[in-house]
Amino acid sequence: MPQKTMRDAINEALHQAMSEDDSVFVIGEDVAGCQGSPSGKVGEVGGVFGVTAGLYKAFGPDRCIDTPISESAIVGAAAGAALVGMRPVAEIMFADFVGVCMDQLVNQMGKFRYMFGGKSTCPAVIRFACGGGFSAAAQHSQSMYQVMTAFPGLKVVIPSNAYDAKGLLLQAIRDDDPVLFFEPKALYQAACEVPDEMYTIPFGQAAFVREGDNVTVVAFGQMVGRAAAAIDALEAEGISCDLIDPRTSSPLDEAAILESLEATGRLVVVDESPPRCGLTADIAGLAASKGFHSLKAPVQQVCAPHSPTPFSPELEAAYLPDVAKITAAIRATLA
């Protein structure tokens, strides 16, 4: 099977979804690029991360739409188009920018279906590049998916590899609820086997990235790979772990986590966001409430500290969870 990066897998999913369904279009800042420019090279850019490359040339100006720097209007445009039957895929360059379009995401798009008594659908997808690892500092490194998970009505997806990214995005586009799709920017270049044909991965179905007996490790997005590295290294010591990648933080596959926990009795949760009201606390809380009788040891939460993301590479390295911290946490649950 061909190897593809997450960037290419997402790009391929967009090409295929747009070919299959003419109600799908992409909109965002420089998703085409060079609009109005003297070079005339409209479409040369394909998004600052290159994820929408080629869509303008393939589908034209009506389906690959550049916008001003107006995130609220971008999300609103997607929400409104979706309410009347389109399937827009909007790109918000960095997840941190939910700050300037939060209302359209959580109070508008996310609430239509419920407020309107279930009589509307809003099949919009909003894509964000998220997470740390680039020394991009406090305003360009946040996850934000943990915050959006708090809002009923929004589905929240965090792919951890290229294969999942393609299948989850195709599912997101076909889904009749609004979906927030968070792409860990540190993984855009990460490649794995990705089929050429279209396929979908259902929401609320976790992936077992590793299977083992001693500890249940739950990790999200960029942290899945780091958790896998920690787990693989521990194999030598005869410590084996389940590694669960929920893939969607909401709907959450509670059953997968609870079943694994029942077998292992030990839980480590890894996410790169800060501790409070985040996903490590959320899943530790799940264990305390619904998995209590399985728990044999304190739940280990491996996450960023309660501070913004620092700029300096050394500081960011110390800020983000790494293999060493995850390894220590796994050992701690067994101590």
């Binding site: 916008t67 001003p68 609220s72 609103g76 188009a81 309410l83 279906r113 909401s250």
Partner: protein, 325 residues
């Protein structure tokens, strides 16, 4: 300008329906029959009707917290709306939305909206869909004199021009945003000019005169339908009630309300014009009045008799329910 009899009768009926709907809602709130936050449209009826009378069902509108009038004008079922305000499970939104979230996708009503200026960006999206589909539809967003100062409203206006979509921005200036006068909240001296500065034409109307709004809105709609991009309508109007029911209205000048009800009543103005032109005679309009009163009465009776929602409905219409957390 003169319109076919049928249309005149319909326009009057729509305005009268909104008026009586709102007056009755006001009474029912006073009786404690209707819960929540409710903002009445009384006095501004000509704006909603003057615009919506020229829209097809497939065209969309998006409204504000003061949404009853826009929804009725666009064809929302009055009985379903009254049931919604009463919180019945038979309401337009099954009692989940209430006054600030009345909506009906089938009628092209993308909803009242509790967030000031929440609507315009969404309307740009509906307009964008129309442009992509080339189906000739237009998307109308209603805004107030206060909501035009919200960033989302500005973004939507610029975006609509950039994307050249058939979005129509209707600004109803009733002079107040809650307790603040437009002369304070809008920094510049000429809101119409500030709006036109974004790059689309804005047509001015007298919001107490159905025909004036009809004419201005007609130009805006024509401009947008023809593929020339967005257009605006700027209407001066007045609300006959407080911002919300129970508002002491300290901001009003002495006699302001009486003057409004006397001289800025779209129903009076409409009847006066009919008397003048003889297009319709008073008796016909009296009949409509009676029919409207009956409909409103019926809607309240139906709303009071309608089933109440039950607890298990709380977790419906959402994709998951993390039960037993």
């Amino acid at each position: 300008m003169s319109l076919p009899r049928e249309q005149l009768l319909r326009a009057y009926r729509q305005m009268k329906t909104i008026r009586e709907f709102e007056e009755r809602v006001h009474a029912e709130i006073m009786n404690g029959q209707i819960a929540g936050f409710t903002h009445l449209y009384t006095g501004q009826e000509a704006n909603a009707v003057g615009v919506c009378e020229q829209l097809d069902t497939a065209d969309t509108i998006i409204s504000t917290h003061r949404g009853h009038g826009h929804c009725i004008a666009k064809g929302a079922d009055v009985i379903g709306m009254m049931k919604e305000l009463f919180g019945s499970s038979e309401g337009l939104c099954k009692g989940k939305g209430g006054s600030m979230h009345v909506a009906d996708m089938e009628k092209g009503i993308l909803g009242a909206n509790g967030i000031v200026a929440g609507g315009p960006p969404i309307s740009v999206g509906a307009a964008l869909a129309a442009k992509i589909r080339k189906n000739g539809r237009v998307a109308v967003s209603f805004s107030g004199d206060g909501s035009v100062n919200q960033g989302t409203c500005f973004e939507a206006m610029n975006m609509a021009v950039v994307l050249k979509v058939p979005a129509i921005f209707v600004i109803e200036n009733n002079y107040y945003s809650e307790h603040t006068n437009i002369s304070y909240a809008v920094g510049c001296d000429d809101l119409k000019a500030r709006t036109e500065g974004f790059g689309f034409p804005v047509f001015v109307a007298n919001g107490a005169d159905f025909f004036s709004v009809y004419e201005a809105a007609g130009k805006a709609i024509e401009h947008a339908r023809a593929g020339n991009g967005p257009a605006g309508v700027f209407a001066e109007t007045g609300r006959f009630h407080g911002h919300f029911v129970g508002d002491p209205q300290h901001y009003r000048a002495k006699g302001e309300l009486e003057d409004l009800r006397q001289n800025s009543c779209c129903l009076k103005n409409f009847r006066a014009r009919m008397a003048e032109t003889g297009e319709l005679d008073a008796a016909e309009l009296d009949v409509i009045d009676a029919e409207v009163m009956a409909l409103i009465e019926q809607s309240v009776a139906a709303a009071k008799a309608a089933p109440r929602p039950t607890a298990e409905q709380v977790t419906r219409d959402v994709y998951i329910n993390y039960a037993g957390a």
